[in-house]
Symmetry: C2
Subunit: 350 residues, 2 copies
């Protein structure tokens, strides 16, 4: 457990413009499509004849992250990763991001440097240019707003509404790990709150902790799909949970689905954590959010091509709308899917 | 003075997805460049061979607005206006916006409807499509993040770094009015806080109140410049104050400037408010922020064309960098300009 309001240099010593200059001084623009980055009223981009894809996310302290156990560098990295993930989920290539932050005076320049280290690392990893943003103060917690912009040829875009009957439902990586990591961190926080002398016990849980604190967007899967010349008939990134997100695809595509519980990939550490907490690991994989894996559909005749892509599993298929949206359990029982995904609005009410 | 947490329908009755559907159900897309709006992982835009211009702003309760005296409809309108203002300041045409909000549970659906009424009205006024956003909860105040996207031909863009020696410095409208309105509202709030039985006295101050609560971006000036085929050599919108914003242009363009105090346009109500508060009105016009007027430079030989544009005044000229940045007062005294504009980061420290 850490404290982020450690001693350091007061932000007021720089002022708003000074802080922006300080934080952005090392930015090197990578893309020809980035004509002008930070420093004017707006950034200027040139996408020529490609489609421009835009997404935005707002992250708030106490709702989306807890600075008690979230290192600021990871937080900066995650803020970029979750946004470029939405661009990949369109089967598009992220190119630029803007980052706005509101900070309270307990943040030091050193703390902001740490946050921007994570931002910059993610911009390197996902090969995007940081082209703008806004920096202001907050009376309360940290607030982060990121907008990501990307490009794609018109015929390459994958929407949520294109899934067809008999299409295969595919998912990358494994599910429920980020939620398992969150459960662990929350448990250790409760123990620490009750007895600050206790040291948290996080050993043996590195993987699920990383999935929660420093998730990756599936750039690699986007690239494999491009190489295999597969354009998914529909695609979404799993931010709310498999159950909720497959329902988005079904509703937008006006189809039903059948998903097989035994096919849903779950990591060993996720299993173990669920067991420790006396919970069913399928609850984690079906309803745990923030995995940022790609969930997509492809025509049945692309089965062989999909099989060859490492780290992608077929977990079910699309049915006609009247068949409904079902999970087939290990025992062969069909259960109607319910959207129990992570809901930040309801969360507050609990 | 008003209370925004009036009785109404609890947001939790809708949930996140329900709320988004409710708030965006009446959106009609206006532009051919908006291929896909709200409802997928990202919006899809098509700018063909034009440049894409992107800007973003973060507005926080208690820092940028006070819900004690800010009607939510005006706040929604202002959130859009201040962002499209940045697009006009590039001499570009705004086309799309995304709006993200974080709300605490004291907000009702009716309150959000009011906020979105303002958003939608501004989208009509400035002819922009609302194409995306994020809706989440906040443990504390209201947080608004808007990104605006626009287009321009490459040779039409006006940056901050193109001002040349002898260029005329021009400004639209009048300055200091938004700051005068803020001073009035803050004064009446203090009176109300001390004695809630007192009714605020805002009569005769309609203009400055509107400039503070419901500012407009200068779409009309952008259009007049287009008609007159004037491409400013540099342009910025006045959000931090004339003094601070002309300094941005001078620093980016590596030039000096000379501004004449007597030429700076100030409205009668701004004068009157300054007098009531025993302050110098030039402090309002030089250092008051949030006017969202356009400040730009044009070559000397465009003087006749500029003279014909209603509501634009020439207030000085660009000099070589060694001459420095000066204000010439009514008495003919030269005073070096200082950036004392509105600074949200320092603000908190006061």
């Amino acid at each position: 457990m850490q404290e982020n309001n450690a001693k350091g240099t007061d932000i007021a010593t720089l002022g708003e413009f000074g802080l922006i200059k300080h934080l952005t001084k090392n930015i090197k623009l990578k893309h020809a499509s980035t004509n002008v980055g930070i420093g004017d009223d707006a950034a200027v981009l040139d996408y020529q004849n490609k489609k421009t894809v835009v997404t935005t996310d707002l992250l708030l302290e106490g709702i989306h992250f807890d600075l008690m156990y979230t290192p600021l560098k990871h937080l900066g990295y995650k803020a970029i990763a979750v946004n470029v993930s939405d661009i990949y989920a369109m089967n598009a290539l992220p190119k630029q991001v803007t980052v706005s932050i509101a900070i309270s005076k307990r943040f030091t320049i050193e703390a902001m440097d740490e946050f921007y280290e994570g931002i910059n690392l993610a911009c390197e990893t996902y090969n995007v240019d940081l082209v703008g943003g806004d920096t202001t103060s907050s009376l309360t917690g940290l607030c982060i707003s990121v907008t990501a912009i990307g490009e794609a040829e018109a015929d390459q875009l994958a929407y949520r509404n294109g899934a067809k009957e008999n299409d295969l439902i595919c998912v990358s990586g494994n599910l429920g790990a980020a939620f398992a990591g969150l459960q662990l961190l929350e448990r250790e926080k409760r123990i620490f709150d009750n007895n600050p002398a206790m040291q948290p016990d996080l050993t043996g849980h590195d993987y699920i902790l990383e999935r929660q604190l420093k998730p990756e967007a599936r750039k690699d899967i986007y690239e494999r799909l491009q190489e295999a010349k597969i354009v998914p008939t529909s695609m979404i990134d799993i931010s709310d949970g498999l159950s909720s997100d497959i329902m988005h695809i079904c509703e937008e595509s006006k189809v039903g689905c059948q998903i097989y519980e035994e096919k849903i990939p779950v990591d060993y550490e996720t299993h173990k954590m669920a067991e420790e907490l006396n919970m069913n690991y399928s609850t984690f994989s079906l309803n745990g959010g923030e995995d940022y894996e790609l969930l997509f559909t492809v025509p049945l005749d692309r089965f062989d091509a999909i099989e060859k892509i490492e780290d992608v599993k077929v977990i079910g298929h699309i049915t006609e709308i009247s068949k409904g949206k079902y999970l087939v359990t290990r025992d062969g029982v069909e259960i109607e899917l319910q959207a129990q995904g992570w809901n930040p609005i309801e969360e507050e009410e609990n």
